[in-house]
């Protein structure tokens, strides 16, 4: 496909990823133009504000309507988007992006460097709620060198910067829109993406139509894309199977087998680094004792958990926050289910008669409670008497998250090692929730981000992972696959494991 051929000018990020992204329904013949693609989803598209949206069904919409400077490609590498090419300084503190010529927003105004600057200034503005802010907080300044050139200066060296600019919430908006009332961003879409917003009904259907002026010649192929909302999963599945819907955005594990074996359907399973983790606070009894954390780790049958909760659609994890998709991920020693060893560890830690614990799980999404219940059952023989307390999400967010001593969290895959560590584990991480605060770990992560020398980065990240596995801030039992499905006539549909990039400009309908 055409964008693979675009020359990469990034010297820093010539990475090769082990993961081969599966693409279903190998394209038969030349793409055909036209047609409307119907996508079903089960969560609402509550807002279209690029800066703050976070809903699973909101990402495909902005992925269609907006472009970022860069974008994460199907190979999980940053690929050109609005920026045709980029280069970084050797010390990784300065990055220059070169924009495509002649790109216009959907309303016809040209997209230039000043729009990029306005967008990044909005993201970095502390008064504006912006999801990408925590990933881009190393930016010191951004300036428009000329109409088509943008230069970023960073406070600290950061090798993965072009990956950060690909953040799904860092799409380029027009300077004019950002200068106006930000409330308008909630409903009014003016991007540079392959599709234009036609109608937005948050309760039912959101419809986008082809952007004839899209900057990649000949794309998109489709005339329109419709996002249909089905809050009930059973209803969504049934409608998809009956052929009313072309793409089912997210397939539940429980339905995957049934859907994949249905005639006329291509089910797509993308291995991903998404995980449910057990949070244990280092500053609270009894988890301040490593032996307790380890005991729990050995009290979990990870393969069984994958089979029961994920219907086998995932991979057992052994507490490494990095999944095999990550380049610098080390071979992680397997922790086999060993209740006896767990029991011994508990006894060593001073709990020979077992331990009574309350494990909190938010009721959304249901997988948190499911994993918690499974852990409760598996840990019983090891002497853990776990009482699962399921609570409404709002109560959880207000009272438990980042405060509670023992609860279930759920995170999607991040694009880089650095983003992953800085999201949760470093002492100044955005969502630091364990109280681990390990200076050595912080230094290793810092070392990894600031050097551009491959071997040094590998060394730093390896040590960081070893330290993490030894200290065991989280129990991570599995990586969950991303599941989606399409009708047979849908060609070129694929997903990124991060599940925020959808490449719908490549999709066409083979009638």
């Amino acid at each position: 496909m055409s964008f693979y051929d675009i020359p990469r000018r990034s010297a820093l990020l010539a990475m090769a990823l082990t993961l081969a992204v599966p693409t279903l329904g190998a394209a038969q013949g030349d793409p055909k133009m036209g047609g409307t693609l119907k996508i079903s989803h089960s969560t609402r598209i509550a807002t279209l504000n690029v800066l703050s949206l976070s809903g699973p069904a909101e990402y495909p919409v902005i992925d269609m309507a907006y472009s970022g400077l860069t974008r994460i490609g199907p190979d999980s590498q940053p690929m050109p988007d609005l920026a045709e090419s980029w280069e970084g300084s050797a010390d990784a503190t300065e990055f220059t992006f070169h924009l495509r010529e002649g790109v216009t927003f959907h309303d016809g105004t040209p997209a230039t460097a000043s729009d990029v600057v306005a967008t990044y200034e909005a993201i970095l503005n502390p008064d504006v709620p912006a999801s990408a802010a925590s990933v881009l907080n190393m930016i010191d300044s951004v300036e428009a060198v000329d109409d088509l050139t943008v230069k970023f200066s960073l406070k600290t060296p950061f090798a993965d910067f072009p990956t950060s600019t690909a953040h799904a919430n860092a799409r380029i908006m027009s300077e004019e829109a950002l200068a106006g009332d930000h409330a308008m961003l909630e409903t009014v879409v003016n991007g540079t993406g392959p599709f234009k917003m036609e109608s937005y009904d948050s309760a039912r259907i959101t419809r986008l139509v082809r952007n004839d002026d899209y900057f990649i010649e000949g794309k998109p192929y489709l005339d329109a894309v419709e996002m249909h909302l089905f809050p009930d999963l059973a209803a969504e599945t049934t409608n998809f199977l009956s052929g009313d819907i072309d793409v089912m955005l997210l397939v539940q594990q429980a339905d995957y087998e049934r859907i994949s074996s249905a005639p006329g359907v291509n089910a797509l399973r993308v291995p991903s680094g998404r995980y449910v983790n057990v949070v244990m606070r280092f500053d609270q009894e009894p988890f301040n004792d490593l032996r307790v954390r380890e005991a729990l780790a050995y009290a979990i049958d990870r393969q069984l958990l994958v089979d029961l909760v994920l219907e086998g659609l995932g991979r057992p994890a052994h507490d490494n926050i990095l999944s095999p998709e990550f380049r610098f991920r080390i071979d992680t020693p397997e922790k086999n289910y060993d209740p006896e060893r767990a029991k011994a560890l508990l006894a060593e830690a001073g709990y020979p008669d077992g331990l009574k614990l309350d494990l909190v799980a938010s009721n959304r999404p249901a997988i948190r409670a499911q994993v918690a219940i499974a852990i409760k059952q598996m840990a019983l023989p090891a002497g853990f008497d776990i009482n699962v307390e399921t609570m409404p999400h709002d109560t959880y967010l207000a009272n438990v998250w980042r405060k509670g001593g023992f609860y279930m969290a759920y995170w999607g895959m991040q694009p880089t090692e650095d983003a992953t560590f800085n999201l949760l584990l470093t002492s100044n991480a955005s969502y630091e929730d364990t109280g681990w605060a390990n200076a050595e770990f912080d230094a290793l992560v810092q070392a990894g981000r600031s050097t551009t020398i491959e071997s040094e980065r590998a060394d730093a990240y390896t040590k960081a992972q070893e330290l993490m596995l030894a200290e065991l801030p989280y129990i991570i039992a599995f990586y969950e696959d991303v599941l989606t499905a399409s009708r047979e006539n849908v060609q070129g549909y694929t997903l990124n494991p991060i599940n925020r990039y959808f490449y719908l400009e490549n999709v066409w309908l083979d009638e």
Binding site: A254, I373, Q377, M391
Partner: protein, 272 residues
């Protein structure tokens, strides 16, 4: 209804009620398996000799879960009704016996509350109480209170004008004697009948809240929650949905039939 049918319906109701109450009281003790134990090798199976009603997605025995969930489901209905009927009766009796402006004020407030549909009212309360079994029970009880207060009041009012009550008043009996000995014992009939039928309704609302994720929370075996959890798997094993669903319907039907039979026996003229 013809006598024979009425009798049969009453017996069916009584039978269902005994079954459901039996499950609620003894269920957890007679359950063949632990309701939370996983049987990974036997997931989502239909009825078999080892699992009489089949298993769910974790291979948990459905019969055991059903039996274990009976107390929370049935006692939810009973508890919510009892609370609602208790509070409602107190308010209704106060309004009915006090009369005058107290009655007027109470009745206006009740009229207003009755203007909010019951399930909506319950949902609002339970959301703001924060979800969970106890909160849901309280919410249903609060939602029941206005209706019960109205029934209690009208029952008290109709008894209050009976001649034996007037005779007691004329005789100079103290008001607590009149309320407790003359009015209440005779006013409880309609209240009890209404309460019985409301238990059915409370069970249904409780299950609905569980289903919507606002009532019982996992790993509870409350029946409404069982349906909600099983919905994902309903096409793979319809038993997981049907078993708790039918159980809820049976419990509700038992109370409905029994309540109607009770009403008939207390007031043979009315056939509704």
């Amino acid at each position: 209804m013809p006598k024979a049918f009425r009798a049969a319906a009453g017996m069916t109701g009584l039978g269902l009620l005994l079954l459901v109450m039996g499950a609620a009281i003894f269920g957890p003790f007679v359950a063949p398996y632990d309701p939370q134990t996983f049987h990974p090798a036997a997931r989502l199976q239909g009825p078999s000799a080892t699992h009489w009603l089949g298993t769910d997605q974790f291979g948990r025995d459905l019969l055991s879960r059903l039996l274990n969930g009976a107390p929370s489901t049935v006692f939810f209905g009973l508890g919510a009704t009892l609370l609602g009927v208790g509070a409602g009766s107190i308010i209704g009796v106060i309004a009915g016996t006090a009369g005058g402006w107290i009655d007027s004020v109470i009745m206006r407030i009740l009229d207003g509350l009755l203007a909010v549909p019951e399930l909506l009212f319950t949902l609002l309360i339970v959301t703001f109480l924060g979800g969970g079994m106890g909160q849901a029970m309280l919410a249903v009880a609060i939602a029941f209170t206005p209706g019960m207060a109205r029934i209690a009041r009208s029952s008290v009012l109709s008894i209050r004008t009976r001649e034996y009550v007037l005779a007691a008043v004329a005789r100079g009996e103290r008001s607590h004697y009149i309320v407790l000995r003359e009015v209440l014992p005779n006013a409880v009939g309609p209240i009890i009948v209404e309460a019985t039928i409301r238990v059915a309704f409370a069970i249904m609302i409780g299950a609905t809240l569980g289903f919507l994720g606002l009532g019982a929370q996992p790993p509870s075996t409350e029946w409404g929650l069982m349906v909600a959890e099983a919905r994902q798997f309903m096409f793979r094993n319809a038993w997981t949905v049907a078993v708790p669903g039918v159980a809820i319907a049976m419990a509700a039907m038992g109370f409905n039939l029994f309540g109607d039979a009770l009403r008939d026996s207390l007031d043979p003229r009315r056939s509704r």
